[in-house]
Symmetry: C2
Subunit: 570 residues, 2 copies
């Protein structure tokens, strides 16, 4: 049993039979033939588990077993997908109504192919024998072994979705709560921009125009749309690690590109870094959520990724950005990689985004006016945040009632009628067949109603809650976005003193006022964007909700009328 | 302070400031000027309270204060009746739909007249100064001071109705539970009838015929119907005691007669005594029930008295009986009293009722066959008892859900929409009036739905539960009725041994078999009556239930459709 030196820290993923080790630690290799880039080792405390092969350096000459397939590692199998597999491909496009299909419908096409699709699509050319094999930290590639995000168990509805179990999230502020904007390499305060010597204006300008409602972004003539669809499961390391890959199909090219969750996450980080000071960039759907069925989890995540991408597409500045376009339309692996490197080197990020913004052709705003606007937005977003959360709470409670006690109660009513019917049938009295048949049918109708009641929230409340959930996420970004503006206004207020003590030239102060004005125009444009989207979204989702509610009540009325018709007219 | 001798036992009614005393006890009269037939006295233990004046004999000459009006006794006033007084007179007829009117509508006409109606209708001619004054045991009259039944507080729905608070009920087995038949002056076993020397057949014969379904009672060509209506409150003893008087209007004479609850109770006791061995006589609605509103209590009691009378009217034997006819059609006070005395002297009661029954013209049943029929009925009634109770449980739970959490939840949904609307209104963004108006209307619609949901059980579930409650009561009588039959069959089985030991002549045994056969025909006729009523009742109530349920769902659908139409079409 060879001794080995640990080269990098490695934190075991819980439940994965891994071993946490620290750089510099010495371990004993207990099985070098695990395969997939893993070895089994034992630490000085006697704990045993898997470590990535390339995290250690063997003390002896024994090495190179990584490519030998371990015969007793089997592909992880999924719970078999339910039989309803016919409509699986269409079910996951951007159309909300698709979500109404059977909850497990979507699972069948990827559950059956844990290996093939992943193998065909992996971008790692170096693992010849096992395309999904772990590459270790030496590989300067995208395919880190951070697939833990992709094998989270699954999600239920709203009740569970925010109860991430493990503290492994890389972003501190997760979905829906306030995020803290931190941009590596930049001071976070707005003074960086307010007093910066700006480079000459390039071509990527972001104009603010004056529209009917006030300052607005310049909207493109046509808006890109995007479908997130067809989640396929891939696996690596002989099924030890699995991930989901989604197709993203932009309306501009109509050509699908594949992305894993972590690519969405990379995009989110870029957008946040670049635009976060001016534009609320909503978090991605939770990385880790728990629940009962993996199919439901994947469907829910896909739906939310769809929602996120759609919202980004609808934003004229975001959707027009180079990094977003790269994500939607990269041509091949090389294109993607080059684009990624370019995006990561972008320097117009953080508060510097305001340097790319052009004011409308109107007078600069006074700082006091900017402050007042900012305060108005702040107040509105806070109260909407409260309103949306209340709606979510109510909706969640109602959802639980429909799928819980109410369903059970209608079932019990149904059973009580059927029970009475069968008791009546046992009377031996002649001629009560009509009554007992009608009673039985009524009982069955109430059992159907129980089912309808339990399934209804998925058909209507779901969308109201998804929309409100999205808005909760968006509204959670505003405190930071607004905070940047408030800090800038404070800086301008300080500027008076600084001019008095000659720590700032009057000229610089004028520049600051000009730039706060630009920031304020940007904020107003963004708020107007937010308002018009909010009106559109709630108008749409309320209609959908009410349409489905009407159908719900009408369906039940029709069913009960049928049951009623079975009774003898008196 | 005069000493007095107690002449009769008197048990204090709890909470009425009365004093329990025993015959022969000596008490001290502490206040002779109470009025209304009461005096205040103290017993040897120092306990003080009211005793009926005529229960004691004063040791001194002090007496006769009973007719002096006590000035500080005031008429008990009711909580003032709600304003909706226009439809009060029609609301309380036999039509179920009348129950659907506002719960308090009925209260107004009697609440306003606590004295007048009672005064005009009391049958006690002896109390000149205070028509309702207590008469004491010396008065050979109906107006005992048992009005405690009439001032019970009130009743809510099913949840409270069976929780009689105080153990003052005169009948041991109350509503819905098994009653024990005890007939004073008769042995309770069927042998009294089986071996009795029967008197010559009179004119009041009860024939059992052979119908399509087997043995049946002879049904009259037209069935008397009866409306119980117009409850009026009367009071006695300066309002210390109050009671409700109902109008009972039979279809045969269309002439209303007045009855208090205790007259119904007297009728019940007579019917139970006379027919209970052959016919299940359901208990009256609970005497004492608790609840919040007296109006509701009175309405509920009236509705249940109506149900009870209707069921009695539908029974060909009961409705045709002299005592029942007396109750419906007595001409005047004298007629009533004579009829009462006659009924109380009736000797064809208990098992002797079978002596009035004539078998159909078909062979006598073998005891084994009778036993088997009896067993079948016993099994059926037991299982129906279970089925009906389950339905009541489910219904009760659903009722609570509708008026409790579900109503609150719809209210909260309504408020959440309205809240969101008013937040949106505060945005300062132009042109969202259509959305906010529509949202407000949707919110109000859900508040209306909350109300509809909470009121629905009164419109449909109520009748299903009332019917099931009636059947629960009826079914609770069967164990006793069936028990009489089983005991008779056992007696016939014993007869063989008795003949063998010459304790019974073979002739007598044949008589017994003949009489058990009559009993069995009667039981079959009664079961067939029960079955046909059951089918009729459940067919009717299920239709009513479903019709109202359909309306309920359709109403909500219409309301939601209206709300939907307020949104901008996209």
């Amino acid at each position: 049993m060879a001794k080995a030196q640990v080269l990098y820290d490695f934190i075991a993923e819980p439940g994965n039979n891994e071993l946490t080790v620290e750089e510099g630690e010495t371990v004993t290799v207990t099985n070098q033939n695990i395969g997939g880039g893993w070895i089994e080792a034992q630490n000085s405390k006697g704990e045993r588990g898997l470590i990535p092969e390339e995290y250690i350096e063997l003390s002896s000459a024994l090495s190179g077993g990584g490519n030998v397939a371990a015969p007793d590692v089997v592909y992880e199998t999924f719970p078999s997908a339910p039989s309803n597999s016919s409509n699986s491909n269409q079910a996951s496009n951007g159309d909300w109504s698709a979500w109404n299909t059977d909850a497990s419908a979507n699972a069948s096409n990827w559950a059956a192919v844990p290996q093939a699709s992943g193998a065909g699509r992996t971008w790692n050319p170096s693992a010849q024998e096992h395309p999904q094999a772990y590459q270790g930290p030496g590989a300067v590639d995208d395919e880190e072994w951070d697939d833990e995000w992709d094998d989270g168990r699954s999600s239920g509805g709203y009740a569970e979705s925010e109860a991430g179990e493990e503290g492994t999230a890389s972003r501190a502020g997760t979905h829906g709560s306030t995020m803290k904007i931190k941009f590596p390499g930049f001071k976070s305060g707005p003074e960086v921009y307010l007093l910066a010597k700006l480079p000459p204006k390039g071509k990527d300008r972001i104009p603010v125009c004056l529209g009917q409602v006030g300052p607005v972004w310049l909207y493109p003539e046509s808006q890109v749309e995007c479908v997130v669809a067809d989640p396929k499961k891939g696996s690596k390391m002989y099924g030890l690690k699995s991930y989901i890959e989604y197709q993203v199909i932009p309306s501009t090219t109509n050509r699908p590109v594949n992305h894993r969750y972590k690519h969405f996450d990379w995009l989110y980080e870029r957008l946040l870094e670049k635009f976060g000071s001016a534009i609320p960039i909503p978090s991605l759907p939770d990385k880790q959520v728990t629940g009962r069925f993996e199919e439901e989890f994947i469907k829910m995540r896909m739906e939310r990724l769809q929602g996120w991408v759609t919202r980004m597409c609808r934003h004229p500045i975001v959707s027009n950005s180079e990094v977003f376009q790269l994500f939607l339309t990269y041509k091949d692996e090389k294109d993607w990689k080059m684009g990624k490197r370019r995006a990561e080197k972008d320097e117009t990020v953080g508060v510097m985004i305001f340097s790319a913004i052009d004011s409308p052709e109107s007078p600069d705003l006074e700082p006091a006016e900017a402050e007042q606007k900012c305060e108005t937005f702040s107040r509105f977003t806070r109260s909407m945040d409260d309103g949306v959360k209340e709606l979510l709470n109510v909706g969640q409670e109602h959802w639980k009632r429909c799928t819980g006690p109410l369903q059970k109660e209608y079932q019990r009513i149904g059973k009580a009628f059927q029970n009475l019917s069968s008791i009546f049938n046992s009377s031996g009295y002649q001629g009560e067949g009509t009554l007992t048949d009608a009673l039985t049918m009524t009982g069955k109708t109430y059992e159907e109603i129980a089912q309808i009641v339990a399934e209804q929230p998925k058909k209507d409340l779901h969308f109201l809650m998804e929309t409100s959930n999205e808005y909760k996420g968006l509204l959670g970004c505003f405190p930071d976005t607004i905070g940047v503006h408030k800090a800038a206004i404070e800086k301008v207020k300080e500027a008076d003193k600084m001019v008095a003590t000659s720590r700032l030239t009057p000229q610089d102060k004028l520049i600051m006022i000009k730039r706060v004005s630009i920031m304020s125009y940007a904020l107003q444009a963004e708020m107007n964007h937010f308002h018009s989207n909010r009106i559109y979204d709630y108008n749409r989702v309320m209609q959908l909700y009410l349409e489905e509610q009407v159908k719900f009540y009408e369906t039940i009325a029709v069913k009960l009328r049928q049951a009623l018709s079975q009774f003898t007219t008196l």
